[in-house]
């Protein structure tokens, strides 16, 4: 009888599977992703390597010495240990992350605009107390510009009423406001000494959200050639909430990681962060094969660093409050060794 190996589901629960079952899940994950994104399946060597990583009872795994990559720690800290700057210091000194990020709990550029001076002062203090690069981060968060939170008619209400043109105009107006707000906050953070700006979960509200991130990035790159600009995505696929928006003549709706990266590179970003959300009902083996299949075509054209999102619920890291180190370290090793990523 084939031995059973402890492994994780996408919700973090510990289950036992045979090596054959893990192998079957890896194959199913890559096949599904290839079908959905119309990209090649992983080749046999890659599946064999993933099987070696995932069909193991080891509590922890790691890359070889010398193969380490950068950890850009978006949303650094717990918010409950000391103050925010002390949080960053702890992560620099004790955890050894490579970049830290100052952020506020209302993680949206629109919200930050109202207290940007206070945020800038915190950035200035952080820069005086840390040696690590310190970036400032938030979500573009386009939905915040629609009623009742913002001034723009709510496109999620207009669309079900069949008011397509009105919904599109609303998103275009919101996009303009968002680009201005990101630019406003970024200017203040640059004046306070930031090393970089992070657009976290870009595209969460669809193609207009992604467009705002790309346009804001281009504006900032023209002003600050040295500035670190990280565009991290919300998911593997850009939703066409508008459907017709273009950047440099290319339609954004429906873009998978390879095309997302092309746009991010053209906009002038420093770092691209692909995100592949997890299926909690499938094993982590199924999820890693699916995630790597989606992202692999992007790596072939990457001219800038690619930092895969491997936080909770993305990149084959389970959706649970305390993701277990066995699952986290397996995802970490798999992305580095198979995709040759630049960080995470």
């Amino acid at each position: 009888m084939e031995p059973r190996i402890p492994t994780r589901m996408g919700d973090g629960s510990l289950v036992e599977m045979t090596r054959s079952e893990i192998k079957a899940d890896l194959e199913a994950g890559t096949q599904l992703a290839a079908r959905k994104a119309k990209v090649p399946e992983l080749v046999q060597d890659e599946l064999d390597h993933l099987l070696d990583i995932y069909a193991s009872a080891a509590r922890f795994t790691a890359v070889d010495i010398g193969d380490e990559v950068i950890l850009s720690n978006d949303g650094t800290g717990t918010k409950h240990i000391g103050n925010r700057v002390q949080d960053l210091q702890s992560y620099e000194a004790l955890l050894g992350v490579d970049m830290v990020e100052l952020w506020q709990i209302d993680y949206s550029y629109k919200a930050i605009k109202t207290n940007v001076a206070h945020e800038g002062q915190s950035m200035k203090i952080a820069q005086n107390l840390l040696t690590n690069p310190v970036q400032y981060g938030a979500m573009p968060d386009l939905g915040r510009y629609s009623k009742p939170d913002g001034p723009i008619p709510n496109w999620s209400e207009l669309l079900p009423m069949g008011k397509i043109d009105e919904a599109r105009r609303a998103q275009e107006e919101a996009c303009e406001m968002l680009v201005e707000d990101i630019d406003f906050v970024a200017d203040a953070m640059v004046a306070a000494g930031t090393d970089g700006i992070d657009f976290d979960t870009t595209g969460a509200a669809g193609d207009a959200d992604f467009l705002a991130g790309l346009r804001a990035c281009r504006v900032l790159r023209e002003k600050y050639p040295w500035l670190g600009i990280e565009i991290g995505m919300a998911s593997e696929f850009v939703l066409g909430m508008h459907g017709q928006l273009e950047f440099d003549g290319e339609r954004l709706a429906g873009m998978w990681p390879k095309d997302q990266l092309r746009m991010v590179q053209q906009a002038g970003a420093s770092i691209y962060g692909p995100a592949v959300n997890i299926n909690t009902g499938k094993s982590t083996a199924w999820n890693i094969a699916r995630a790597i299949t989606f992202i692999k075509p992007a790596m072939a054209i990457a001219e800038i660093p690619v930092h895969v999102n491997v936080g909770m619920g993305v990149g084959a890291v389970p959706t649970c409050v305390y993701p277990p180190a066995d699952a986290t370290s397996r995802a970490s090793k798999a992305f580095v060794e198979i995709l040759k990523i630049d960080g995470y």
Binding site: D67, I70, L71, G75, V97, P133, P305, Y322
Partner: protein
């Protein structure tokens, strides 16, 4: 990574495949990715070339402690290892900017506001 990520998960990532930040030279390699958009291999080679070490040394906290002390790139103060007479955070960033030949925003702001 990303906001909403649970407590301490960074610990697993840094141990599994991270460069260790300023415990080694992860902060320096990160600066090349941010400022010059260099991919990991090119960024490691660049930093190693500037520091006169091998790319593998950059993730080695033992090798990097001495290199950081020699070049004034900053070290972490811990209970039994403090260096009050060595460069602190902002002072180290002046030296990092020079060693890597890159602008560091807060250093430039410091010079401007201190009228240096």
């Amino acid at each position: 990574m990303g906001t909403g990520d649970p407590l301490g998960m960074e610990g697993a990532h840094t141990q599994a495949s991270g460069m260790g930040g300023m415990r080694a030279a992860g902060d320096l390699v990160a600066r090349m990715q941010m400022t010059r958009r260099m991919r990991i291999k090119e960024a490691k080679q660049y930093v190693a070339g500037k520091l006169g070490c091998t790319p593998r040394d950059l993730s080695d906290p033992v090798a990097m402690e001495q290199i950081r002390l020699d070049k004034g790139l900053g070290t972490l103060a811990a209970t039994s290892s403090t260096h009050p007479d060595e460069p602190g955070m902002m002072e180290a960033k002046f030296n990092i900017s020079k060693a890597l030949d890159i602008p560091i925003n807060c250093v430039e702001r410091f010079k401007e506001r201190a009228r240096l």
